[in-house]
Assembly symmetry: C2
Homo-oligomer: 100 residues x 2
DNA sequence: ATAATATATGCTTATTATAACATATGTCAG
DNA sequence: CTGACATATGTTATAATAAGCATATATTAT
C-alpha cells in the first residue's frame, strides 16, 4: 500500500468533526442539514468534511430531491472501530496519562 | 471510546515518518540509530516520533546497554494494515483521483 | 573521572490543516 | 421564471503539527 494511501486514510480519520460525523452516521443515514443541526456544526463545515469522507470511501451518498443522504461504509468503519476499542482497552493506562 | 482516544490513535498514525518507521519495524526490531540510518531521518526526529508511537502502544522498547530496541505491537498493527489494504482495494479508484 | 557513543527533550520555525465566511449551484414549489 | 431551501465550493485567517537545532541524559570503555 502506498504512502499516499495511508496518508489519505489516516488524514481523513484524524479529525474531531469528521469522527463525530462518522459516529452520528453509525446510528443511520442522514442528510447534511440533519448532521449540521444535530452536531451544531456550520453547514459548510459539514459539506467539506463529508466531501472528504466520501472521497475516500468512508461514506456513500444518495440524492433524494433536494436532499443528499449520507450513509456509512460499515464494512470498513465497523472493524476499524472494533480494532481501536481493542487497542485502547489494552493500552488505555498509557493513553490516559496525557494528550500526546 | 472517547473523542480524545480517537484523536490520539489517528493523530499518531497520520504522519509520513511515523508510518515509515512502522513499516520498517514490521521487518523486525531495531534501535534508534538503525532506524535513523535506514530511513535517513535525523536522530531527533526518530526519537520524537518513537516517543509518540510508544505513548500510544504502537511500539514497545527494550533497553540493551546503550541501545534501545523498538519493536512493533503486531497485535494492533497487523490487523490495522490489513483493514486499510482491504478498504483501499475496494476504493482505490476514488482514492486515486486526487490527494484530498 | 573523562571521553565517546546512543538516545531523549525543550524550543523555535516552517509547514499543513481546519473552520467559516462569502458565494455558487442545484432542486423544487408556485 | 422566481423565490426558498438544501448543499457545495473557493478562499483565507487561524490553529495544529512536525522537523531539526541545541542541548541534556544515559551507558560503556579506558
Amino acid at each position: 500500500m502506498s504512502e499516499k494511501a495511508y496518508k489519505i486514510f489516516f488524514g481523513t480519520l484524524n479529525n474531531k468533526n469528521r469522527l463525530k460525523i462518522i459516529n452520528l452516521l453509525r446510528k443511520g443515514t442522514k442528510c447534511v442539514h440533519d448532521i449540521s443541526a444535530e452536531l451544531k456544526f456550520n453547514q459548510t463545515t459539514v459539506s467539506h468534511n463529508l466531501k472528504r469522507l466520501l472521497h475516500c470511501g468512508f461514506v456513500f451518498v444518495e440524492n433524494k430531491g433536494k436532499h443528499r443522504y449520507y450513509s456509512l461504509n460499515k464494512k470498513t468503519i465497523k472493524p476499524l472501530m472494533g480494532l481501536i476499542d481493542r487497542h485502547m482497552h489494552h493500552f488505555c493506562e498509557k493513553i490516559a496519562k496525557g494528550e500526546r
